[in-house]
């Protein structure tokens, strides 16, 4: 199955040469940079009204700032529901994950782009960030007593519990990465196969499925990340 042509190849040749010169695979990097640019533009224009004044009266219209504000506020409320001690310290990371993964996934449905998240390299990096942040939070909260959480409920089960907990903690970023990678790759391939069969009309339900799966997988990634953070921050009972 050949790769096809992407907008990055057509329009952004110098950028791709520069990235290849840096030793970075130009295909997903170009798409990821495009998504980053879109997100920065959205963030800048969405938050401009709130940066200009300290208190902004609601003006009753469903404008662009309103939509952005609602999205951010709902995400914060959702994470506050999972992380008991308040989600503000990690909200920047989780919110960025959510929007970044969502836009990367949806980029695959735009003709001429490949979703960067269908490269295992990209998803592994995101999962490793979650892994290191979770353990960093746990060590910052508990100190070296963090290791006690791996020991299990009673001390004489520790030799049994410790390897199990260790393996389960190491598998978590792998499962996060593989879930996102597999969903995006499988989804993209299904749409590609059905487009080969009948390019007119047949791929449309599968693209609808693609939208659903993209949003759902971004949601599941950040949900599981926040659950891992809560698990690290949790005080053992």
């Amino acid at each position: 199955m050949e790769h096809g042509i992407t907008w990055g190849e057509l329009l952004l040749e110098p950028l791709q040469h520069w990235l290849a010169g840096l030793g970075v695979d130009p295909e997903p990097a170009t798409d990821a940079l495009i998504v980053t640019a879109v997100l920065i533009v959205l963030a800048y224009f969405g938050g401009r009204k709130f940066r200009q004044q300290a208190l902004v009266p609601p003006d009753g219209r469903v404008g662009f700032s309103f939509v952005m504000e609602t999205v951010v506020a709902k995400m914060l409320a959702f994470f506050d529901g999972i992380i008991h001690s308040g989600a503000r310290p990690v909200f920047l990371l989780l919110g960025t994950f959510a929007l970044f993964i969502l836009f990367n996934n949806l980029l695959g449905l735009v003709p001429g782009f490949n979703p960067p998240t269908d490269q295992f390299n990209v998803t592994v990096v995101l999962a490793l960030m979650t892994f290191f942040t979770a353990h960093f939070l746990g060590i910052r909260e508990h100190g070296w007593a963090y290791v006690k959480k791996f020991m299990g409920p009673v001390w004489w089960l520790a030799p049994l519990m410790f390897p199990i907990e260790l393996i389960s903690h190491l598998v978590r970023p792998l499962s996060l990465a593989m879930r996102l990678f597999g969903n995006m790759t499988g989804d993209h391939k299904v749409v590609a196969v059905f487009t080969l069969l009948l390019p007119l009309g047949l791929p449309v339900p599968f693209m609808g499925l693609g939208v659903f799966v993209s949003c759902l997988q971004a949601f599941v990634f950040v949900l599981l990340s926040s659950v891992y953070f809560q698990d690290a921050l949790d005080h053992p009972h």
Partner: protein
Amino acid sequence: MKNKVMLLLGALLPLAASPLFAQGAAAAGKGDVAMLGLALGAGIAIGVAALGGGIGQGLAVSSALEGIARNPSAADKIFTPMIIGLALIESLVIYGLVIAFILQGKI
């Protein structure tokens, strides 16, 4: 009676694909048995994964539907955990799919 005959014929239909196995012997590079093993492994990996995933998701959705049938006003509160559960069950199927891709890429 006619339905059972049609069902049996439909189950035997994949055997009609067996002439495709004959073509694999012509390609050089890997041995025949290795390529057969890789191809069978890829197919069985995703087949069994989808089987288990289908049963698991069916159980999850059936419980969710029963809960909604008992209490229709709680439909939204049941729907969200159901979707989360479906995504987590599906992730196990995706692991099988990734292995199938890896094996199929090695053919």
